[in-house]
Symmetry: C2
Subunit: 363 residues, 2 copies
């Protein structure tokens, strides 16, 4: 099978680039003695999770129980980096613990107590990381409350406190401000580790990191586990935040020109159902991807099945219906979630067709 045989729109994964991306982070983690537990939300494919483990990852990370069910058979160790709430989800989670070692990150006793009850009922044990808000304002308790939460969790039966987690999603880019924030983060995490030790609490696992800060993880004192996701493919967000170059983007979305009704404009057969409508995380102009063949074109608007491309500043304007283009999306994780299958390519050959097995696992 060749790329020309693929119907559009479709996600292509350049295997050479992907393998180099996987190697780079595996080596970085090894060099700095950081435990690597990649977040599989980016690829959602068990074969790629296995590849990450083969390259030295200690385990895998997921967000939802439905994703855990998909990945459980692949990995000896699984972190669910999301509070699991609700009786039937807890029951499904207990079944996952029969297949693999499970760790949950959580930020409240309201989540921890039913988890403890469920583990007792299922006669199993769950590892727990308590989660601190390192500045993003999403989940996680304020750092000053982390030790109290950890103490309370450590008293609950069948929960084994292993340390703490955080996600520095507030650091958007590696500019001067970003670097200054990494310094502050390091001070915060180091202080929390010291507080845990002083309180006699375990901090075997201090799990954090994000894509922009990935290669600065070793600068965060006390951090010993990273769980990056996007690095396997990279995307426009990764480039824009300074964590990779355009040539490190393994995933492109193959599209076809379907309409050229007005000079200087064209319509491609991918819109929000293909790319998602995610804007750039760093802000900036609200465009939806970089068209590799014409980087000067503006992919400026979408409907579900239509992508609007303004060619007036592009390197070429004379596109014809039927021509195919490859677009680096803003955010590859959400795009993967929209595709039933993706294609692993090398040059013009299709080497792999992967089902996106954990696609749409919302629960």
């Amino acid at each position: 099978m060749r790329i020309t045989d693929i119907e559009t729109p479709a996600i292509l994964i350049d295997l050479d680039i992907m393998e180099a991306n996987l190697q780079r982070v595996a080596q970085y983690a090894h060099r700095h003695d950081l435990r690597l537990r990649p977040h599989t939300k980016t690829h959602k494919i068990t074969a790629l999770g296995k590849k990450q483990l083969d390259l030295g990852a200690a385990g895998l990370t997921v967000a939802k129980v439905g994703e855990a069910e998909i990945m459980a058979g692949t990995t000896p160790d699984l972190l669910i980096a999301y509070p699991v709430v609700g009786r039937s989800k807890l029951e499904r989670l207990m079944a996952v613990t029969k297949q693999t070692e499970v760790t949950i990150s959580l930020d409240s006793i309201a989540v921890a107590r039913p988890l403890s009850d469920a583990a007792r009922a299922a006669d199993t044990e769950i590892n727990v990381l308590v989660e601190a808000d390192a500045g993003m304002g999403r989940v996680g308790v304020p750092p000053a409350e982390l030790v109290d939460l950890a103490k309370a969790v450590s008293k609950l039966p069948r929960l084994k406190l292993r340390g703490f987690a955080f996600y520095p999603g507030h650091i958007k880019a590696l500019d001067d401000d970003g670097r200054a924030q990494i310094g502050k983060l390091s001070y915060l995490i180091d202080s929390l580790v010291k507080e845990f030790k002083a309180a006699g609490l375990p901090a075997d696992i201090v799990s954090g990191g994000s894509t922009p800060t990935l290669y600065h993880s070793h600068e965060v004192a006390g951090l010993n586990e990273i769980r990056p996701g996007t690095y396997i493919f990279n995307d426009r967000n990764t480039v824009e935040c300074g964590a990779c170059m355009w040539d490190d983007c393994a995933a492109t979305i193959l599209v076809t020109v379907v309409s050229t009704p007005r000079p200087g404009h064209m319509v491609i057969d991918g819109g929000s159902k293909t790319f998602s409508s995610d804007r750039l995380a760093t802000g900036g102009e609200p465009t939806f991807g970089l068209i590799r063949e014409v980087p000067g074109a503006l992919f400026h608007k979408m409907n579900e099945e239509h992508g609007y491309v303004d060619l007036r500043r592009a390197e070429r304007q004379d596109f014809e219906v039927g021509e195919r283009l490859r677009v680096i999306p803003n955010h590859i994780c959400v795009a993967m979630n929209l595709h039933e299958q993706v294609y692993g390519i090398r040059g013009d050959s299709v080497e792999q067709v992967w089902k996106v097995e954990a696609r749409g696992k919302l629960q």
Copy 2:
């Protein structure tokens, strides 16, 4: 099964409201002698397409061949309102013509010619609507070029020109400006019909309309077919553009509060993987849905699995982990595409569990 048995996040369809919505548009179309060919992109479920046909729809509309393959067995008549480009898609389309009467809307000879060739090779015939740009600037030729395109299409073998199509997506709301634009649109469509007649071209089908303009379709002279989609469920966009009331929104997304780490804020278990990251079509504040229980809350930010809710102006602030809420999404079509199944409810009872069969049919 009851609503309390459903794991979150999940789409609930209030069947009483949905049935009233279906009736309302069926009656409107009947009263004004408009052919109704609902766009199934909103629901993506064959059972609901069948319900639309049972209520008098003349056929169904889809965007992609993959959706046509799903709906073909349900309807005697199918409009693919999208240019079909590429050999393998045309082959699949020809297989669909063996199951149901197919019409394609297109805007170029570059799309029409391979379609004609494919129809000849398959020994079949395809109905065609040529598409005009009525002001949206997406697909469609400028109105002044429509008759020439129609003439060229009508000369191609195995294509049967039936009339023309347009989509007035530039009319965003029914304010004074929107009403003025409907007047202009009526003048344009009426002129095109007269041009077609003068040129001896068929205009049996003049297909148009959009959600904001839905109940004004009869004011557009010459228009004889409408293909609304969203009306079956309605959403925040439909309310904001003035085409329905909040109580007409049949679809809500059931979510659970998973974190309340800071006073005045909470995190729900639905983000862009559940709702899509579509903003309001009318612009306005960039929020992602209306929380029915606390309309004053601001659902202001998302990550893939996290919804950030600012409660500081809300009717209630004291939410606890585990509480469930129902959110009217900005755009229900894209949300449906993210869910494997949806739940038809009446009161607290779950009457139907529907697989979203045409979900993710991108090709």
